[in-house]
Symmetry: C2
């Protein structure tokens, strides 16, 4: 389940309480989002394998939003839910190291090394292999995961990613960068370096499933973005493993017609999404 | 001048004061960084056209680091320095909108619209034209600027960006996406949609200078990254305008041998960098 908190869609009671307490401020927005996320996490926990936080929707509210981001993650971990931070960072070596340390752990704080509660992050490969290396090495050291953008779920993803060079698409070239890091696998045969493959491109999934059998695919785009659930099997290996399918708005904002019972509606939406995915494997 | 605060390189006096006050915490790190940045900004203001903040080095310290980021920007604006936030964000439409609003302005806060002190941001084009559109439209509405990554300064930038498709490099394809937004120009003939072109690739700069005459180039990579100052003229138009050359570590951490006089050393490094750039136009 993806947590992409949109302030104007939150239950009015949560909004009003925060606003009465702290005014129309970033602090009130952060408080409302954190309160909402905690209730969502309580509602979905029993039906959910992993939660994914979309950083942008927290960064919108400045330091208070970032506090809500880290506190939401802490709460998810208290419910034993693994956490993916969807940050899509990418930068030159020394800066990529700073991002890797910030989100996976390793920041030097007056001689102490900080760890984090995040299990995996998404990264953008546009700057090349040396920009991915600090993420890979930090993930290895911290025993965490990386999902590299290979083929994204948006309509325009092909503008760059589908261009062909030397008989291969740019997405293929990115997949080749991951291929060098697929040799170390866990007891199920999976590497800690995975790929983002949008649910909206199932034919591409079949291609990459063959190319990167050891990679776990993070698959956003079912629900609001229109990915077809009946095609979801193409993202998995024959063992029924190898993909994490994410729905955000379709679960978390499913209660707009029935705000009073929002926790119940969200819980049922998470359950129904789970059944839908499992029924299509 | 680029502000990439690295905690372990800060003057010991600033570090110790913050640590004594707040312990070995993120809050102390944020305080030390903000104090350092203010002194740096005082030292460089008279020699500096624009400051660029690298978000990663602030995000490392959680909400306290993000507070230091926004407070540093506020202080820079109080000195009349334009501010570029080097955030390299890129995401699908609705998320890109959230990032654009977060950094350029437009966040809805309980019915109030927030603005920001940032003048321009950097963005990553890997997700395609529809992922750039929210940044372009928000920048237009807020009268601010965007720098799209076209050719980055790192050694591995060619892995993706130099690949050729239909006789053009991927960087060329990205430049084509900007080209559609070069029609509206200011009184000097420049658009608000610019490009990041690394100082380490002057031959590429000549090519893109011809291709995008109305685009302002953000040129990182002189100083610590090894970009050759004598080649810097290739990033400018014949009118002597059209580029912002950025040095980070080479200015801000120039005082390591003379920590007691760090403000003086930084001020001289900013002045010398300015003279070096202007002398090579």
């Amino acid at each position: 389940v993806g947590l992409d908190p949109r302030l104007h869609l939150l239950p009015k009671k949560i909004l009003t309480t925060a606003q009465q307490q702290l005014g129309s401020t970033q602090a009130a927005a952060g408080l409302a989002i954190l309160e909402f996320n905690k209730q969502v996490l309580d509602a979905i926990a029993q039906h959910t394998a992993v939660v994914k936080l979309q950083s942008a929707f927290f960064e919108q509210y400045g330091p208070a939003g970032v506090t809500a981001f880290w506190e939401t993650i802490k709460y998810a971990k208290s419910l034993d839910l693994p956490v993916i931070a969807d940050i899509k960072r990418g930068d030159i070596g020394s800066t990529a190291t700073a991002y890797a340390h910030a989100y996976l752990g390793g920041v030097d704080l007056f001689g102490k090394t900080q760890t984090t509660d995040i299990d995996a992050i998404t990264v953008n490969p546009f700057l090349g292999a040396d920009s991915l290396e600090p993420f890979f090495s930090t993930a290895k050291k911290q025993q965490k995961g990386i999902f590299v953008l290979v083929k994204t779920s948006n309509p325009g993803s092909g503008d760059i990613q589908d261009l062909k060079s030397n008989q291969q698409t740019i997405s293929d070239h990115v997949a080749d960068m991951l291929d060098d890091h697929q040799d170390q696998v866990d007891e199920h045969g999976y590497s800690n370096i995975g790929a983002v493959i949008g649910a909206t491109y199932p034919e591409t999934a079949q291609h990459f499933r063959k190319k990167l059998p050891q990679a776990i695919f993070l698959v956003p785009g079912i629900g609001a973005q229109g990915g077809d659930p009946s095609m979801i099997k193409h993202f998995f290996n024959k063992d029924g493993l190898g993909a994490i399918v994410s729905s955000s708005r379709g679960v978390v904002f499913s209660y707009q017609e029935n705000e009073k019972q929002f926790k119940k509606v969200i819980s049922e939406a998470a359950r129904d999404t789970k059944i839908l995915i499992n029924g299509n494997l």
